[in-house]
Point group: C2
Chain length 336, copies 2
């Protein structure tokens, strides 16, 4: 099995790579080779694995050469993020739309050469959903809720969903688009994304640092842990076309939580002192952006694939603490 | 007022041009100049009008020059049609997606030079709707029905809807996407499109010729006359943003008819002898395509703009007969 992960050095991509390497299999076949492309070099542990090949540079520049490589599967995660795409429209169009199209064209060229359609999992996003004056956002965004993106990032993700559906219909690829929830708890530093606080209000207090909460505690949002997200991507890859059910995108499972529930979970897992390091300080800009996001999603199609959300936000915090214990114990220096 | 119509030599485009020239106004301003771009030369009557400038060639090749022209409004109708896009995927991507993007980029460049966002009406299509295994087609497709295109043409139209919405959100254009119904009765010859019979079963009998009906008479479909379609495009152009209501696409009004109702109307307007020239001869290929099309649409947003469908299919046939009497009386040689 030859597998390509675009965005393979990113947070989700690297975790997916580690999971696949540990399983040493995908869709019942042995993992022979795992190619990670990214603008940044992949972490050392991945580079050290003999099955891994790392390529660094813009995906767009690598696609033509991909016509000459036989991959059995592609996880297409590479993407400019929401904030970047709002600041630099051309960057988003190039990184998200043009790169996806170039990747699909490379895979289509393989089919023209006689290969079977390559299985492709595309990471779309709940950013496809949003309120339009003509189409209010429902209380819960389901698989078949009408997308009305309120960002260029969400627009580009939605366009790629439809490109992948049509390339699949034409037999150019065997594509599946899965919408990722907000992944939390992300390690590392705040990244300036409007959603950054969904990780920050857990991560910083556990590290003994103050975290700013820029929105009201009654903000609700669909989240998922890194591991459930990776498991969802693999399940979507491994599903038969019949089980995937159609060519439209599906929502990965979400734990729909309020910020209050997140903070209560932090106190339950880590104690009141850690919880007290979250300081409310409203940021109207961030609160305004967040007000346009889905407050909850459902994932009926994902459930039929056997995927479920975490049972509680406590579980998500515990997963983060376990990860840190293994790889970055200093991130828990606020924990007594 | 300087207005551009892409696809300005086509059936709908030329009729829109004639209507605007007759009104000599758009959105309360005098029509000073009307530029028609198309792959084919515009009809002689349009070329003869001193306000008209005709440009012939692919839209994609003309877009860069458009950056240096100040248009107050654009009707973007140019498009490869459904059948072409299925046969030649690259043609559809280039003619529909790349050309629209190049047009939007040209208009965005004007804004970067300090101009106000250009008002753009984009002709989308009911081809955005279709049944997906995960999302059955509703009985009536409303403005906010989830699109699930079953053709590359429908996919490209849907992608352009979302590009226009995002370019509008960013202030690069003032864009409005309106979904056209199947326009009937089209003059001329059968064009090989699967929908061709929706005009053929009226047009050919009126011309004294036999018409093949390739589907069952209980097939239902949303249709509109050429003139109502043109009036809809103008109303969408003239609407305030508030009246247009959001950035998502709207359905133009449809008369939802069955083929049986169309044939009954033909008999009512033109008599049983004309009606008898329609010969049922099932074509499984066409019947299969048509089975994936919406059987009916609703247009609540269009209704709020004051737009209504024709009251009956008889009215649509009478409009066609009136048109022919003025411009092509030989097309009525089957009428006694």
């Amino acid at each position: 099995m030859q597998v390509l992960i675009t965005g393979g050095a990113g947070f989700v991509g690297a975790r997916l790579a580690r999971t696949l390497l540990a399983l040493d299999a995908l869709a019942g076949r042995r993992l022979d080779r795992l190619v990670l492309t990214d603008q940044f070099p992949a972490p050392d542990d991945l580079r050290a694995d003999p099955r891994v090949e790392v390529r660094v540079g813009p995906l767009l520049d690598q696609c033509e050469a991909l016509q000459r490589e036989a991959f059995d599967g592609v996880f297409h995660l590479a993407s400019a993020v929401s904030g970047e795409c709002e600041l630099d429209f051309d960057l988003g169009m190039r990184s998200n739309l043009d790169s996806t199209r170039a990747l699909l064209e490379a895979l289509r060229a393989r089919v023209a050469q006689g290969a079977a359609p390559t299985r492709v999992v595309f990471s779309s996003s709940i950013a496809v959903f949003g309120p339009d004056p003509a189409v209010p956002l429902p209380v819960v965004c389901a698989d078949d809720t009408l997308p009305a993106p309120q960002t260029s990032y969400g627009t580009q993700k939605l366009i790629c969903e439809h490109l992948i559906a049509d390339y699949t219909r034409k037999g150019f690829v065997d594509g599946r688009a899965a919408r990722l929830m907000t992944v939390t708890v992300r390690p590392g530093r705040p990244n300036g994304a409007a959603s950054s606080f969904f990780s920050g209000i857990i991560r910083e207090p556990l590290a003994g640092e103050e975290a700013i909460l820029p929105v009201s505690t009654d903000v609700a949002h669909p989240v998922s842990s890194p591991q459930r997200t990776v498991e969802g991507l693999i399940a979507v890859f491994e599903a038969s076309r019949e089980a995937f059910g159609g060519r439209t995108a599906l929502n990965l499972p979400a734990l729909n939580v309020t910020v209050q529930q997140m903070l209560d979970a932090l106190e339950a897992v880590a104690g009141p002192k850690v919880r007290s390091r979250v300081r409310p300080q409203r940021d109207e800009r961030i609160a305004g952006i967040v007000a346009n996001w889905p407050r909850a999603t459902s994932g009926a199609r994902a459930a039929r694939l056997g995927l479920a959300p975490e049972r509680s936000f406590e579980d998500i915090i515990r997963q983060y603490i376990d990860d840190c214990r293994r790889t970055a114990p200093q991130a828990l220096r606020g924990l007594e």
